[in-house]
Amino acid sequence: MKFGVVVFPGSNCDQDLVNAIERVTKQKAIKLWHKETNLQEVDFVFLPGGFSYGDYLRSGSIAKLSPIMQSVVAFANKGFPVMGICNGFQILCESGLLPGALLRNTNQKFICQNSLLKVENTKTILTSQLQSNRRYKIPIAHGEGRFFANPETIASMEAHQQILFRYVDDNLEASEQANPNGSVKNIAGICNTNKNVFGMMPHPERAADLALNNQDGEGFFLSILHHFEHELA
């Protein structure tokens, strides 16, 4: 299979993502330039982390207007898989492909640290190879990562099992103490109702290398690979 990683001006996790995908899945990952509209027949589109167009207005608000995003939205609306990590998640919310919004962290500061995640739904193509009864140590690095949606939206998302990951403590509890940024109900990652568009603030690509002593992120990529090798085959 072939992965595509979109490169906006100001993206800075694009190469990390390409490296992690290729290292973990042994599949090809190509970069898609923001000025293009051709997705080059990739099977899966990633929107990487970074500060697209500087993110001076509101994270992701300019990126959604770029030529490539018009193709990405069409791709997603046809049911093909798209995932945004960090700034990519913000762009997907701005584009309306995912519900909710990402607000400034409650402490008003950028936070870079490990976070512990619990997987709430293991029946998606992003999470099928993950386990619901263990913690995943995945780093976060953002200033605007506080997931917010109104109570009705949250209720509907929960009813449709759209909450994929929550920030938890050592005991797998979504406690206040475990919530790094003030996200509603400790939400760290979600998907759309159709389960083909995914967004998460933590960076699995930063936890997918033995040399860095953290491989907790590998399962995210292996789940995607598994889907393409087994479910679709």
């Binding site: 001006p9 990390d16 950028f110 870079c112 860095l212 002593n213 953290n214």
Partner: protein, 740 residues
């Protein structure tokens, strides 16, 4: 304009009468105002190093791995094998940060990274060294908040991990904070570029941000004392845009890849003036520059404003004639503003035109360091405060009864306590090469792609020691940096230095400067770590009280870890390991945090230090690490043995039980900061090898005890559970600075 008026303007811009006469001699005529501005900027301390270069030249520059030595290019270059070169440099942004902490610190980060990528190297890691006044002071809190946010906002968006650094709080930095930023980059050997301008008629381009009125006279501003009027210099502070910097990085590296350019230089201090004259001087050529073509942020800018503006994120490139379109296509791809503003000429003069009029014409050579820029020999004399230091008598300091409370007091001291509140505001993991996220080590470690090797890097300077004894303190700064690299499993390769001092015209300050350089020199020679570059920041003193900062020669060091298995943590790895102290059990507590913060003694000698002992320790320790005998290694620094022990316990919450000889005074044993000492833990079955190894290398060692349980116990005293001590250590700075 009358000559008298020009002379008084020259003085107002910081040029001396003697310098003015020199300018007249160079030009053979009376300079005009624009030319005075140019000379003032280029001959400022900041650009010309006129009061420091004589001594900088005495630093050892050549080593077996040196590819580009200090002073030759924007940054030095060392060979790290496998066809790769490491390019690294540290620079100060003290003055701007003292009055506008956010932009001051942000543009410091921007500037140092441009130095690296204008050499053709991709930055891979950043570090910083920060010094503030008393943490309880409201202004300090505002400065810390602003500086940290500035570094984070710029560095995080730029997308290069901030992997390490140091932060100190001392009253001497109350008015003059220090903000030193370091960047480390990689380039293939043979693919680096030079800041030169060869080839008559080759086109000269400016690209990046438009030029505005920010940062005008920034170089001159950085070359004087901070006073109450400094706030009037606010327009001298530049404004940064990390998004542009990121585009500039990608476009610059792509341009360099074409191999169709002659030279590149970023625009730092003194803007267009500096880059055009330095690039011209380097090749012995001139440049014809049309200022009307420079993209401007605002209309009506005067010629001299354009020339010395320090607007950020701008580059000057000389392109091989005939390849303009190729370069322009790359800049278009990245949506970067550019303009051809002139060409290389054979006049040897930089000539600046506006509206068809020649506004300035100056021999490029006359403006630059190593050319016509002035070089001064300054007088120095031994500081009078040395008397107070030599009269210190440690016998008069009573050993407190309750050492457990002292230990807890020290763990909470801002110079010892965890800086996590600060460092977690920096993206330390972007780039996915940072190996010290999961494994704490004395140096930051980043992995080299597709290689068994890693780079270790650190910034260090205990300025209290330098104040006590500039020469020994300078040596210790280098030794400690090297010790940190060795503890992480690396071999120290080279250093960059950022020399922060007071006013060079003060003879006592200049004494500190000269002797710190002497100390750095002997240590660099003994440890075989040449100086690849750096910068000097004088005038770190305020006019209100005339007090200067502690002499602070910050050392940035890079080392090479040959194999992944050599990477060594500072953290205890498991219970039942044996703990050793390498180096002497010393009774010395001079210039320790304990003496300064607990007993409030400001004047005491530097801690004991023998360079030959240091070299022996480092060589034998690195060998033991490479032999696979060491579980953890942690250098003894601020807070001495106790704090080293506690810090080693924290990450995996492993306790220890140690026994100390109670015949020597216990406060000195626990909290003294005698140098050349390392705490190591080793597996029980390696203990014999270790003892034999260090014995045969003639390195003193003491078996302290073992790792056990979850408490820290020394002799019969229980200092508490590791988790309770960790709480004090990690919460202290947050408690002072947090408003959440």
């Amino acid at each position: 304009m009358e000559e008298k008026q020009i002379v008084s303007q020259a003085k107002a811009l910081g040029l001396t009468g003697e310098e003015y006469l020199k300018i007249e001699a160079i030009l053979g005529r009376t300079p005009n105002f624009t030319e005075i501005c140019i000379f003032s900027a280029m001959w400022s301390e900041h650009c010309s190093y006129k009061n420091s270069i004589k001594w900088l030249k005495t630093l050892p520059k050549e080593g077996p791995a040196t590819l580009v030595a200090a002073g030759e290019e924007n940054a030095g270059l060392i060979d790290i094998g496998e066809g790769l070169a490491c390019c690294f440099k540290i620079e100060s942004h003290n003055h701007p940060s003292a009055i506008e902490p956010f932009q001051g610190a942000a543009t410091g980060v921007g500037g140092i990274n441009r130095d690296i990528f204008s050499m053709g190297a991709r930055p891979i890691a950043q570090l910083n060294s920060l010094r503030f006044g008393n943490i309880k002071n409201e202004r300090t809190k505002w400065l810390v908040e602003g500086v940290v946010k500035g570094i984070g906002t710029y560095g995080n968006s730029f997308g290069i991990p901030t992997v390490g650094g140091e932060v100190y709080f001392d009253d001497c930095y109350q008015t003059n904070i220090l903000v030193n930023a370091m960047s480390v980059g990689l380039v293939k050997v043979g693919e680096s570029v030079s800041a030169t301008a060869e080839g008559i008629n080759n086109p000269v381009y400016i690209y990046g941000s438009s030029t505005g009125k920010d940062g005008i006279h920034g170089a001159s501003f950085a070359s004087k004392d901070i006073s109450e009027d400094s706030v009037n210099d606010l327009p001298s502070v530049q404004v940064g845009d990390p998004f542009w910097e990121k585009l500039l990085l990608e476009a610059t590296l792509e341009i360099i890849q074409t191999k169709k350019i002659v030279g590149i230089q970023d625009m730092g201090a003194a803007g267009i003036t500096c880059s055009t004259s330095e690039m011209s001087a380097k090749a012995g050529v001139g440049m014809h520059i049309d200022l009307d073509k420079v993209p401007l942020r605002q209309s009506g800018m005067k010629d001299w404003e354009i020339l010395i503006s320090e607007s950020q994120e701008r580059m000057l490139v000389v392109v091989e004639k005939g390849h303009e379109k190729e370069i322009e296509a790359i800049l278009d791809k990245w949506d970067i503003t550019y303009a051809q503003i002139g060409k290389v000429t054979d006049t040897k003069n930089v000539e600046f035109y506006q509206k068809g009029m020649l506004k300035a014409s100056i021999p490029s050579e006359s403006l630059v360091l190593g050319g016509g820029a002035p070089v001064y020999e300054r007088k120095f004399r031994e500081p009078s405060y040395f008397e107070k230091i030599s009269s210190f008598d440690d016998k008069k300091i009573n050993c407190p009864k309750d050492l457990i409370s002292v230990a807890k007091f020290l763990l909470a001291q801002p110079n010892i306590a965890s800086k996590n509140w600060i460092s977690k505001q920096y993206d330390s993991m972007v780039g996915t090469i940072t190996q010290t996220t999961e494994m704490k080590s004395d140096a930051a470690i980043v992995k080299l792609e597709n290689s068994e090797k890693s780079l270790a890097m650190t910034v260090d300077c205990n300025s209290r020691y330098v104040f006590a004894n500039p020469k020994i303190g300078g040596s210790i700064a280098v030794a400690e940096a090297a010790r940190n690299i060795v503890c992480s499993g690396g071999k120290p390769l080279a250093i960059t230095n950022c020399l922060n001092f007071g006013n060079p015209y003060n003879e006592e300050v200049y004494y500190q400067f000269v002797h710190a350089i002497k100390g750095i020199t002997v240590a660099c020679e003994a440890l075989e770590t040449p100086v690849t570059g750096g910068n000097v920041s004088f005038y770190n003193q305020s006019t209100s009280d005339g007090k200067s900062v502690y002499p602070t020669p910050t050392i940035g060091m890079v080392g090479l870890i040959e194999k992944q298995s050599h990477i060594t943590s500072m953290s205890l790895q498991k219970v039942d390991d044996v703990l050793y102290l390498l180096g002497p059990m010393s009774e010395d507590f001079n210039s320790s945090q304990y003496l300064a913060k607990y007993h409030h003694v400001e004047y005491s000698p530097a801690p004991s230090f023998q360079l030959s002992e240091e070299v022996k320790l480092q060589h034998s320790l690195l060998q033991a690490i490479r032999n696979g005998w060491i579980s953890s290694a942690h250098d003894l620094s601020e807070g001495g043995l106790f704090c080293a022990l506690a810090e080693s316990c924290f990450q995996h919450e492993i306790g220890c039980q140690i026994t100390l000889n109670s015949k020597v005074r216990m406060d000195a044993l626990l909290f003294g900061e005698a140098q050349s000492r390392v705490l190591i833990s080793v597996a029980e079955d390696k203990a014999n090898y270790i003892e034999e190894h260090f014995h045969s290398h003639n390195v003193q060692y003491t078996k302290l005890g073992c790792t056990v349980g979850d408490e820290l116990k020394i002799n019969d005293h229980n200092f508490g559970t590791v988790s309770a001590l960790k709480k004090i250590y990690s919460g202290s700075i947050a408690k002072e600075l947090s408003n959440d």
